[in-house]
Symmetry: D2
Subunit: 345 residues, 4 copies
Amino acid sequence: MFFASDNSGPVHPEVMQALAEANQGYAMAYGADALMNEVRDHIRGIFDAPGAAVYLVATGTAANSLALATLSNPWETIFCSPVAHIHEDECNAPEFYTGAKLTLVPGGDKMTPEALRGAIAAEETRGVHGPQRGPVSITQVTERGSVYSLDELRALCGVAKEYGLPVHMDGARFANALVALGCSPAEMTWQAGVDAVSFGGTKNGCMGVEAVIFFDESKAWEFELRRKRGAHLFSKHRYLSAQMAAYLRHDLWLHSARRANANCARLVEGLRAAGAEFLHEPQANIVFASFPRSTHKRLHAAGAVYHLWGAELDGEDENEALPCRLVCDWSIGADQIDEFLSLLT
Amino acid sequence: MFFASDNSGPVHPEVMQALAEANQGYAMAYGADALMNEVRDHIRGIFDAPGAAVYLVATGTAANSLALATLSNPWETIFCSPVAHIHEDECNAPEFYTGAKLTLVPGGDKMTPEALRGAIAAEETRGVHGPQRGPVSITQVTERGSVYSLDELRALCGVAKEYGLPVHMDGARFANALVALGCSPAEMTWQAGVDAVSFGGTKNGCMGVEAVIFFDESKAWEFELRRKRGAHLFSKHRYLSAQMAAYLRHDLWLHSARRANANCARLVEGLRAAGAEFLHEPQANIVFASFPRSTHKRLHAAGAVYHLWGAELDGEDENEALPCRLVCDWSIGADQIDEFLSLLT
Amino acid sequence: MFFASDNSGPVHPEVMQALAEANQGYAMAYGADALMNEVRDHIRGIFDAPGAAVYLVATGTAANSLALATLSNPWETIFCSPVAHIHEDECNAPEFYTGAKLTLVPGGDKMTPEALRGAIAAEETRGVHGPQRGPVSITQVTERGSVYSLDELRALCGVAKEYGLPVHMDGARFANALVALGCSPAEMTWQAGVDAVSFGGTKNGCMGVEAVIFFDESKAWEFELRRKRGAHLFSKHRYLSAQMAAYLRHDLWLHSARRANANCARLVEGLRAAGAEFLHEPQANIVFASFPRSTHKRLHAAGAVYHLWGAELDGEDENEALPCRLVCDWSIGADQIDEFLSLLT
Amino acid sequence: MFFASDNSGPVHPEVMQALAEANQGYAMAYGADALMNEVRDHIRGIFDAPGAAVYLVATGTAANSLALATLSNPWETIFCSPVAHIHEDECNAPEFYTGAKLTLVPGGDKMTPEALRGAIAAEETRGVHGPQRGPVSITQVTERGSVYSLDELRALCGVAKEYGLPVHMDGARFANALVALGCSPAEMTWQAGVDAVSFGGTKNGCMGVEAVIFFDESKAWEFELRRKRGAHLFSKHRYLSAQMAAYLRHDLWLHSARRANANCARLVEGLRAAGAEFLHEPQANIVFASFPRSTHKRLHAAGAVYHLWGAELDGEDENEALPCRLVCDWSIGADQIDEFLSLLT
C-alpha cells in the first residue's frame, strides 16, 4: 500500500527489458545512437509534428529548466501557478537556468485565463525597469491532481498569444492527463498553442528519462548547447533512448497511465463512499482527501505509506479530519487499493 | 574492434543485474534509498575516510561542475591543464555552475608543480581587479592517457596548499589510474592533498553514474542544494545507487580497470612492435599513437572504429604517419586487440 | 511644480561644490582616495558602528543587488514586499546578482510580522527541493510613502532572527524615514536587527551615490569582489566619495530630508483640506492621493508634472477621482507647493 | 609628476562646467534627458553612423561586459589578447555578464590575424562539447600602449567575419588611438568591421562615463534591458549625458588625447635620449620603459609616482634595469614631463 509518490515505484518490466536489449556492443555516444532516431520518429508521429525537435534528459527539473531557458530571456518573467513544481520544488533551478524571474499567477492550483491575463497585464507599465513578459508555464496534470480541459488549455494559450508569449507545458504526468482527457497529444499541445513540452517518463514507469519537445525546430541547436552546458547530455545516451523507446512502443505509456488513473478512480470511489472529502477534484492519478485521524492511524498501523498534507498524525482528536495526498503510480494493483479501502471503516 | 571511446561500450552485466535486483517494490526517492547507504559506507571504507560526504550524479560534467562550484567562489579562477575536460569538453558548464574563470596552466597535458606555481603566482598582484585564486583541478587519468605519480600529485597539491587553495580531482577514469599506480584510493586522494573527487563509474562499465566525494563533510549540505538547483538530483535515485553499489561490490571497478589497462598494454606492445610512435606515454587505457595512413586505411576497411587525432584519412601520401586516439574500455577482449594488431602490418 | 520623482531633481549646490573641490590634482583610484576615508569614518560615527564596512556605488539597484548577494546564497529565497523596488523595478538585477528567488510576503506595501512569519514558515517543509530561507529585505521609506516605526522594524527583524536570517534595508530614502521617525541611524538599523543597509544619497540631493553598509565587517572583502565583478567599482572613485562626504557634512542629508518631508506635509495638508483622499498615509516625502479628473486637468494645464497612478487623464467623467503619486524632493520650494495647492480648487 | 594611471587624474574643467550647467531644475530620468539626445546625435555624426544605438554607462568594465553580453551567448567563447583588460582586470565581470568563456589568443599584447585564426579554428572540432565561437574583442589602445593600424584592424575583423563572428572594440582609450592613427572614427570601427565599441571618456578627462555604441541598432532594446538588469542604468542620467556632451563638444576628446599623446611622445624622446629601453613601442599615451634602479630611486625620492612593472625598487644592484609603466593623461603638463626627464641623468 504505497501511495507516497510516483517517484518511488519500480520501473516497468518492459523498460528494464529494453535496457537489457540495448546493452549489446558499442553505440555512438551523446545522442547519436540509433535508438534515439527511433524515439524521435516515434514522438514526431505521436504528436503529428514531423518537424519537432526532440531531446532526452534524465530529470523533470532538467526538462523544465532547459525548456524554459530556451524559450525565455534573463530579463523576463515566467508566468506559472503558485504551486507549480518549477516554483516550489526545484530549488531555484529555473532561475539558475533562465536567469529570469517567476511571476505567480494569483489563484489556486489551476491558472484561469482571467488571472493569467491580469498577471501579464500587470507587468506592462514599467518599461525597462520591470522584468519583461516571458513564457507561460502550464502544469498538466497539475500539482493538485487536476487536469486542464482542452478548452482551458486553449484559453490559457490564447492569452499568452495575445501578448506574443511562448507556452511551456510541464508534462511530468503528461500521459495521465492525456488519457484523462481522451484526446490526442497534438490536441493537448501545439494545436492548443503549446510551444514546448516536458514529456515525462520517469513517474509513469521509466527509470529516469524525460523528453523535451519543441514544435519550432529552430530552437534545436540552442537546446543542445544548453543541455550540454547544464551537464545534462548523457555519454551513454542509448540507455535514455532505450527507456523512452520502450515507453512509447506498444503504447506502454498510455496503458500505464490508464491503469494508474483507473486505480486512482477506484480509490476515489471508495474514499467517497467512506465519507472522505476532497480538497481538489481528482482527475488523474493524485488524490487530496481528508478523513478522520483515527482512520489515518489505522492505515499507518497497517503499513500504508503516504503523506499527510500539512497535518500531524499525532493528536488527541480522533475524529479530526486530516488531509493527505495519495498518488497511484502505474504499478499499484487493484488489490492494494482494495486493501487500503478496507481499512477506511 | 571499437576503440573510439569508453563512453560507447556496454554496461557490465553485474551492473545490469544490480539494476534488475533494485527494481523491486517501492523505495524512498531522492537519495534516501537503502542502497545509497551501502554506497556511502562502501566509498568511505575504500577511501579510509569515515566522515566523507558522498553523492551520486549521472554525468561526469555534472560531477566536475558541482564539485568545483562547491569548492570555489564566482570571483575566483580555477587552475587546470589546457587540455582538461572541464576546459575543452564541457561547453562552459564549469563556468555556468561556478561563475568562476578557468586559468590554463602553461605546458602540456600534465601540469607540473613549477608551471602551476607560476600560474598561481601570476594571479597575485591585481588585488580586487583580477580574479582571485581558486581551486586546482587535476585530471587523473589525464586526457592524453598519462597518470600522475603519487609524488607528482603530492607536489601539485603541495603547491595548492602553499596558497591555501582546495584541490579537485577529475577522476572520470579514477580506477584506471589507481590500478596503474597500484596504490590505495586514500593515497591517491586525501593523503596527497585532494579535497574533492569526481569518482567515475560511467566510463568503466556503469550506465551513467559518478560519485562526488568531499573529504570535508562540512560541504555536504551545500553540495546537496547545488545538485538539486542544477537539476541533477534523481527522483528514482535507487537506480544510481544500484549501479554504484554493483560497481564497488566484489571490486568490480578494479577488475574492470585492470582488464582495460592490461588490454591497452597489449595494444601498446603490439603497436610498438609494429613501429608506431606514441604522442604520449600510455599509462592507463588510452593510447595516442601515430602510424602510416596505409595502415589506418587497412584498419578502417576492416571495421576498426577510432578517432584520427587532428588528421584526415583521405590523402595521397600512404606513408604519412597519422596520429590517432585509441581507447580500451573494460569490455574490449584480447581477441579484438589481436585482430587489430594483426592488421598493422 | 515638478512632483514626478526625486530622481528628476537637481543636485544640491553643496554636493556640486564638493565635486569641484575634489577636482584637484591626482588621487588614488578605486576607492583608495582620502575622501573615502572621511566618508567611512563619518558613516561609522553616524551609525555608532566603529567596525562597519562601508562602500559606495552609483545606483540604488547596485546597492540593493550587491548587498543582497553578499547576504544570500543562490539556492535561497529573499523575503520582501510585493511592491518592493527589488521585485518590481530592478529588471531581475537582484536575481542576477544573487541567483536567488524572491518570495513576496502576502499583504500590501508594508510587511507585517505575522505575514512575514507565515511566508518564512511556508518555505520550511520541502528540504532540498524548495529554495532555502534567505534574507529579509525591508524598504524604508516604503514604495508607497509609509515609514516603518521602530517597533515595526524590531518586530520584523525579530521574526527574521527567529529563523536565523539576515536583514537588509533598502534605504533609498533612508534620510526621509529617519527624520520622520526622529530616531538615530543606529536605532533604525543594527539596534533593531538590520545587518546591511543601502543608504541612499541620489534621491536626496546627490548626483549618483549610495553607500552600502555592513555592520558585520567580515563581509567586507566579499563585497569588494562582488562590486568589482559587477562592474560597479569606480576608477575615479573620489567623485563618489566627494558626493557622499558633502551629503554627510553639516548634516546636509538630514536638512534636505527634513525640508522634503516638511514640504510634503504642507502638500498633504492642502490636499486634505481640498478633499483629496489618500491611498496610503503619507509619512515621508511621497503622497498617493486621489482627486477629481477636472483638478488633474487643471494642474496639468498649469504645468504640474507628476504621474497618475493606474489612471488616465483623458476621460469624460470630470468628477471621477483619479489617483496619483506626488513626490517632493529636497529642491521643491514652499512656493511650488502653494502654487500647486492653489490650483486644487 | 603623476604617471601612475589615467584613472587618477582630475576631470577636465569643461566637463565640470557642463555638469554645473546641467544642474538646473528638473530633467527626465533614466536616459530620457534632452542632453542624451544631443550625445546620441553627436556620436552618430562623429561615427558617420546615423542608425547607431548609443548608450552611456559609468565604468569601462560595465561598457565591455554589457557590450559583450549583447554580442554573445553563454555557450560561446570570446577571443581576446592574453593581457586584455576583460581578462586580467575585471574580476570575472565579462564571464558574469555573458556566461561565456574567454579564449586567450596566443602571443603578446597585440593579436595577429594568424594567431586569431588559429585560435578560432582550434575551437572548431568538438561540436556540442566545446564552447562555440563567439565575439572577438580588440583593445585599442592596447594594454601595453600599442595601437593597431587600420590594416591590422581590418585583418583581425576580416578573420572574425570569415567565421561570422561579431567584433567588439574595447576603446577605453579610443581617442588616444584615433589621434595616433589620424583616421576617422568610422574608419577605425565599422568600416574596418567592428560591430560594437566601448567608447571611453573616463580616462581622457571625464568623471565616469563611457558610451557603448552598436552599429546594428537591432541590439538596442536588448542592451537597455541588460544595462538595467546589471544595475547600470542611472536615474539622474543627465549627469552622464552632460559629461559626454562636453567631452564631444568643441572636440575636447580629440584635443585632450592629442595633448596626452604629445606629452607622452616628449617623455619617450627624453627617455630614449637617456638610454632607456622600451618593452613595447609606445604609440599613444602609455610607456613601458626600463632604466636603472638608481634612476628609479632618484625619481621616487623627487616625488614621481608610477608603477614598477614586475620589479622591486629595493635591491642592491643600482645599475639593474627595472621596467616600469608610465601613463600620461590629458592633464599632465610639459613641465612635469621635463621635470621627470631632468631627473633621469
